[in-house]
């Protein structure tokens, strides 16, 4: 087992890629692209363990009544992280789940996540690290118990957090009261899979009751004595900067405490939020619009060929010959639209700053606020709250920097939140994408060659969680082309190019960066090729997969989903099935949608999903994530579209920005969990991938209409004429 005293993760991250860089330099004679492709070929091996460098004692508290409190550096945004992490701890500490409490680690005196909560790597990244920490704590407890009880360590037994020997026993809580020193063991032995009692059990969410009672657990719920409400005026159009403002009317309006004019923004602070809103309307801002952007310009910039090309996958020869299948696909930009808007509460108390915030990056928020205020990092304590949704929208928290400046200017604790309109119009979006594809079916009825060009604005690049050097090393933005490479490796000739570009507004990571768009495209095109070859889409896919590794695991989920969904069996009149797959973050997924056309619109009745998760920690948590990802993906693929109109982002309100409700969402979702491994894969994001193509392929099966553009409802309407 590894020592937990690892170098900090940034160093480790760089060390990992320094190896890559070294080889890169050596490989330059052969070209940088082959090296990058080799890196992408082995991407999954690069997803590593959580690199802890914080003391074990910062992670845990043990109460006198024998409860264990885990201070989690990973945040809870609905994905069930706290429950899964609690299970890992309970297992190694030999306690029951009801003895476990999980809280967000504050950034002073508690462990800080060197990366982010995202990328579906909370459970997989903590799998070894947290079990090792808990096992070490158990051994530290035993060492102290041995001293107190006067019994050799080897004679001790542990159950429910009680250590016993010779008829005497001590709870962890009692040991903590009596112990005077703690020595962290160098190595511990982790429990074997066959001995697991808590891992693998479906347990209810650890945060269930607060969420059913409506407890004030979110960032927006924070309320402090003497707190005031700030509102930042945000540019109404993209590519627009603040110049100056006329605040003469606003500053004397009811409830206004102060209007804060900074070089780059203006904010109004009032005793209540409605008063701040009223006063904000009275401020006249002089905006400088660099350029009035229109949607057709955005689409032209996003076209394949417009950006810079990076060849990200290459096998054999290019597509050539006659009778090719060629197609063009696109996906619209979309919003995260998490239900709790962004914002924070900042309290400056003397030379200490406390930031209460729903953030996916507590460490980044801390650093950025400290830099903004010119303070040492230790002077800023971020207290993460439960997140009212994340989906990548809280991987960057510039709002906290603004709130800190406002708090400093006004000298009181300040609560600064986005309106929903701000959230839509000043947010960061899932970029629109454009794709061209070519394929050829060989004499054997299988794919002889395939080519995919995927073009997208940056998603991961520019993020504070990705070191700048990675852009140089990787070239193309793997957050933009995620899911764009071909998984069917029996195809002898493959070309995938990623086209990189920037747009005049922020584009960023959205649950499973790149995956939803690229999987929609590749798996729809796979269906086109299957029909060209005259083959059944299930059999056609199986025929292009090897019987080993990831491809075998893909085969298994395709077969499991097909069986569960009744592929090939009779369906109600007018109904049809469509299949799509993806493989991401160690998981393999197959989804089958059952659709029909009702009143001229696509109706999705049921989605069947089979996924191989490696090893399941909380099967019910996995089901919840799969159901949620399918419904969110359904909504995004069917309805959602952000556009520019005269420089403005539209729409800026729910309704016109249509999100699926109970009425539209599939009523039935069936989940089949396969476990082929001995460590957990990521499951929060991957099931978002296949849903768009599964629906599109089912629509083709039902109607013969091939949908090649997201959102599907618009594309279907356009095809109807």
């Amino acid at each position: 087992m590894n020592d937990t005293k690892q170098p900090n993760s940034r160093r480790r991250f760089l060390v990992r890629f320094t190896v890559g860089t070294g080889v890169l330099v050596g490989a330059l004679a052969g070209g940088i692209n082959p090296m990058r492709r080799a890196l992408f070929d082995n991407m999954e091996a690069l997803i590593g363990d959580y690199a802890n460098e914080d003391s074990i004692l910062t992670w845990f508290e043990v109460t006198a009544d024998n409860r264990i409190i885990l201070h989690s550096p990973k945040v809870e945004m609905g994905q069930g992280a706290f429950t899964g992490l609690g299970q890992l701890v309970a297992e190694e500490l030999e306690v029951e789940m009801d003895q476990i409490e999980v809280v967000h680690a504050v950034t002073l005196g508690r462990p800080i996540d060197p990366r982010s909560t995202g990328g579906s790597d909370t459970i997989s990244g903590m799998w070894l690290t947290l079990r090792e920490l808990a096992a070490k704590l158990r051994e530290m407890m035993k060492a102290n118990a041995a001293t107190i009880l006067g019994a050799p360590v080897a004679s001790l037994s542990v159950k429910n957090g009680i250590i016993s020997a010779n008829g005497k026993s001590l709870t962890y809580g009692e040991i903590v009261q009596q112990a005077t020193s703690w020595t962290e063991p160098e190595e511990v032995k982790l429990k074997e899979k066959k001995d697991f009692k808590v891992i693998g059990k479906a347990v209810p969410r650890i945060d269930l009751m607060p969420k059913i009672l409506g407890d004030p657990i979110f960032g927006i719920d924070v309320s402090l004595p003497d707190m005031v409400y700030g509102l930042v005026l945000r540019p109404p159009t993209v590519d627009t900067v603040y110049v100056s403002s006329d605040i003469s009317k606003a500053k004397s309006m009811p409830g206004v405490v102060k209007v804060v004019q900074e070089p780059d923004f203006v904010a109004v602070v009032a005793k209540s939020r409605p008063e701040a809103q009223m006063a904000a309307r009275a401020i006249k801002v002089n905006w400088k619009v660099n350029k009035v952007w229109e949607q057709d310009e955005i689409l032209a910039m996003t076209k394949v060929g417009a950006g810079k090309e990076y060849l990200i996958q290459k096998e054999g020869k290019a597509v050539e010959g006659e009778d090719l299948v060629e197609a063009e696909y696109s996906t619209a930009a979309g919003a995260h639209a998490q239900m709790e808007p962004n914002g924070s509460v900042v309290h400056i108390d003397g030379d200490q700053v406390i930031v209460y915030i729903s953030t996916q990056v507590p460490g980044v928020t801390q650093k950025e606020v400290a830099e903004t205020l010119g303070l040492e990092i230790e002077q800023v304590e971020v207290r993460p709250t439960y997140l009212g949704g994340g989906f990548g929208r809280r991987l960057h928290t510039p709002n906290a920097m603004q709130a800190a400046r406002i708090a400093k200017a006004v000298g009181k604790p300040v609560h600064v939140y986005y309106s929903r309109q701000d959230e839509f119009q000043s947010a960061e979006f899932r970029p629109p994408t454009h794709h061209t594809l070519k394929g050829k079916i060989g004499a054997d009825g299988l794919i002889e060659s395939i080519e995919h060009n995927t073009s997208s604005a940056d998603a991961a690049f520019g993020s504070p969680i990705l070191p700048k050097i990675m852009e140089t090393i990787l070239g193309s933005d793997l957050g933009a082309w995620g899911g764009g490479r071909i998984n069917y490796m029996k195809i002898p000739n493959i070309r995938v190019s990623a086209w990189r570009l920037q747009l005049p507004f922020s584009t960023t990571m959205w649950r499973a960066p790149g995956l939803m768009a690229n999987t929609f495209v590749l798996e729809s095109f796979m269906d086109e090729l299957a029909h060209k070859a005259g083959k059944d889409p299930v059999e056609f896919r199986l025929a292009h997969l090897h019987d080993e590794g990831k491809e075998l695991r893909l085969k298994n989920v395709i077969k499991a989903a097909a069986e569960k969904a009744g592929w090939g069996k009779s369906l109600p009149k007018g109904h049809a099935l469509g299949l799509a797959t993806c493989a991401e973050i160690g998981a393999t997924i197959a989804e089958i949608a059952e659709v029909s056309i009702e009143n001229g619109e696509i109706k999705v009745y049921k989605v069947t999903c089979a996924l191989d998760v490696g090893l399941a920690i909380n099967p019910d948590g996995i089901r919840a994530q799969v159901e949620g990802a399918i419904i969110q993906g359904f909504s995004a693929c069917m309805y959602e579209r952000m556009e520019l109109e005269g420089g403005k982002i539209v729409p800026t309100i729910f309704g016109p920005y249509k999100i699926a409700t109970l009425k539209e969402a599939p009523r039935e979702i069936e989940v089949v969990i396969l476990e082929s491994g001995d460590r957990p894969a990521g499951v929060g994001e991957p099931p978002v991938g296949p849903i768009g193509a599964a629906i599109g392929n089912a629509v083709f099966a039902a109607t013969g209409i091939r949908l090649r553009n997201l959102p599907l409802s618009d594309d279907f309407a356009a095809n109807q004429g």
Binding site: D207, I212, I217, M339, P341, I659
Partner: protein
Amino acid sequence: MRINFILNGQTQSVDVDGATPLLWVIRDVLDQKGTKFGCGKAACGACTIHVDGNAVRSCSFAAKYAQGKTVKTIEGLSDGENLHPVQQAWKEEIVPQCGYCQPGFMMATAAMLEKIPNPTDEDIDNNISNICRCGTYYRMRKAIHRAAEIKQTNS
């Protein structure tokens, strides 16, 4: 203006601009944070509460209209001892993910069940139009049917 109403069984008297959305009076003046802000335009339902038993989107309901009314929020949904059938069903089906929209959904469902004790799937589709971004609708639908069952068993 002075506005008097009953909130979760307690008489409240607040002095606010009558046009202030009731949401902010409840959250920031009376410090009950269970009712959520989602959009401010009655488009998402996160702020759903009961006013005299009717489901109301409190972000767009002026405080002056609460005068003399009985208002209930998620904090007052249970009787203090036992969970409301809707909360009980939500618990059994493990509905919440991030949890932010759930109080609005539970309030909307509780109001619907008073009018439609045994809703069909179509009734649910037509009456519960709130937004959940985590996509908990599959479990929510099961929980709504289960809540109807618990409520009928209890009564």
